[in-house]
Symmetry: C2
């Protein structure tokens, strides 16, 4: 293999072969440990020596190899974030918040999308563990997290966000989904609606079933019967939402309002409702950009993804800093944002 020494910085500059502390030490005419001391700003080095070492570092283009450092020190100063889809605005706000907090603690962030595939979640998570991340923030997709037990036992801190861990006991930061839905559905009932539909995500997803529970409880508390034709749980693919909503609207006794179980459903529903001649009120779970600019502006029950991420990551670092005690479950409240679509029919 030809390895052109295409610059004249020094012997260690062969392509791909980076200079090490040893090279720096040789060039500066000092010992290895002295270089380490300079690089890490440790005390006990004369300004003169420091100067010599620094010149050698600059001349060689040396940069400390953190892999070796990590191996030696045992701490990686990195955390892993596993979520459903980095491209979803909800999760991207959450990610940003996680990143922000991690940065505050001097940590880098690994991210990965599970794409709602349990196997992929596990694969990603364990890959992060193999990299020996200090901690994990997980938006779970799988239904059995026992695979994490040895990792947690070995000292990798884990906090679950948005949905709780299953089959293991772990820290979790959630929104009070049922409570938030109650507010939204109560709002619709308050506007005089009696025939209210609910379209949500796959019922095996914790948040989805919690939201459905909130809906049923509110309807029951108001003494309103729920026709099962009004309830549809499943994929949030636009096609499915279109089909289900159209079916409900074509009923001889159609619903007059819809509670949509998450932002993807809301968006899909909006496309049907704006095209429909029949007026239907709408309250959606999750806020989204421009919700206020649509006409009518869309009433929502909002979670705060950034706050979820921030809270979870703070909790994670508290654990890393030695906080012990039983797993904690933090529940954040949702917030009803009344904008119009709940009252004025489409």
């Amino acid at each position: 293999m030809a390895e052109p020494a295409h610059n004249s910085r020094g012997a260690a500059q062969r392509y791909g072969a980076r200079p090490t502390m040893k090279d720096v030490a040789a060039r500066a005419g000092v010992g290895l440990k002295t270089v380490s001391r300079v690089v890490n700003g440790e005390p006990g080095v004369t300004p003169d020596t420091m100067q010599r070492v620094q010149s050698a570092i600059d001349a060689l283009g040396f940069r400390r190899n953190d892999s070796a450092r990590i191996l030696r020190k045992g701490r990686t100063s990195s955390v892993g974030l596993v979520l459903e889809d980095l491209g979803d605005p909800f999760y991207s706000s959450l990610s940003r918040a996680v990143e922000e907090v991690a940065r505050g603690y001097g940590s880098l962030l690994f991210t990965g999308s599970s794409d709602e595939d349990p196997e992929r979640e596990q694969e990603l998570t364990l890959a992060f563990c193999a990299r020996r991340v200090d901690g994990l923030v997980i938006v779970p997709t799988s239904f059995d997290h026992r695979y994490l037990e040895p990792e947690i036992a070995a000292g990798i801190a884990s906090v679950f966000v948005d949905r709780p861990a299953e089959r293991i006991d772990a820290d979790a930061v959630l929104t009070d989904n049922a409570g938030a839905v109650r507010e939204g559905v109560a709002h619709l009932i308050g506007q005089g609606h009696r025939r209210i539909a609910f379209i949500g995500d796959q019922p095996r997803i914790h948040t989805a079933s919690e939201r459905l529970r909130g809906y049923r409880e509110t309807m029951a508390a108001a003494g309103l019967p729920v026709d099962e034709a009004w309830v549809s749980m499943g994929s949030t693919a636009p096609e499915r939402v279109h089909a289900e909503l159209s079916r409900m609207l074509d009923d001889p006794q159609p619903v007059t309002a819809l509670f949509s179980g998450n932002n993807r459903v809301t968006v899909a529903a909006l496309r049907v409702l704006t095209a429909s001649s029949r007026p239907v009120a709408l309250v959606g779970f999750d806020d989204f950009e421009l919700a206020d600019l649509l006409s009518p502006a869309v009433t929502v029950v909002a979670q705060d993804p950034a706050r979820l991420g921030r809270t979870a990551t703070e909790l994670l670092f508290n654990r890393l800093e030695g906080e012990t005690g039983p797993p904690r479950r933090v529940e954040l409240r949702g917030r009803l944002i009344v904008r119009g679509s709940g009252e004025i029919a489409f």
Copy 2:
């Protein structure tokens, strides 16, 4: 420090002290290298031995320490992604695409937001380099990337996305910004508009000035004069956009159309325009979710962030697989999506 051996899996299970291959080897009664062979699926191990090793692995909860592996092998199987803001939908789509491709090549992804702070960009980038990422995908914010020279010389591949590198020659994947804007402005002119405003980002940002150039060129080509009061470059903070746009609308001879230089400007402008009594046509740079559901639906010049990310990452891995040759610059075309707001005035 109390170190409760709170399970009985084995001696190596003290909290924080993970079992190593050595422990596994001891327990299985084989040599170190044999464990390594089993862990890595290398051939040359009898089924029987393999079985014994595997049991020891399971019993101890062993997981290979990739830090050590990386140190030994020299490849990290990870790439770093530096962008402006993970929370911005545009970048989150891009991130997702980068992640997808990296995954295809068996790499994990480090992400970090520079927040438009050049220093932070450099800090993040170099932190990734210290972790010895195999490659970098960078949405640059700074104006001098010479700090990357030693890293690139040492073999870290780098691809810039959305904006080119400055003061070094590096691979870049960009949108043809000026060309895309020309299409959008031409559309407005075609609709009969003569007094067209342009509100964009800080002019020192490459994409912002390219877009401005596209605007000026199109106006000039059509023989239309540009009043400098119609042009405003600067922060995309809603307050500034509000102020500038209001100023333009309050002019005795107000503009009849606006080209907004990116999605943040578009959103801010929409809020002003929907509140305004005066009709103003709008074409925005960058598509956004629900643009079609607003009334009027918003006409945009769309980039494809996922395609940008995908292309850049493919290029990165091509380099990692040995592709040489001079730095390449790939330009993707923008796409005009006519939806109404360009014709029908607000």
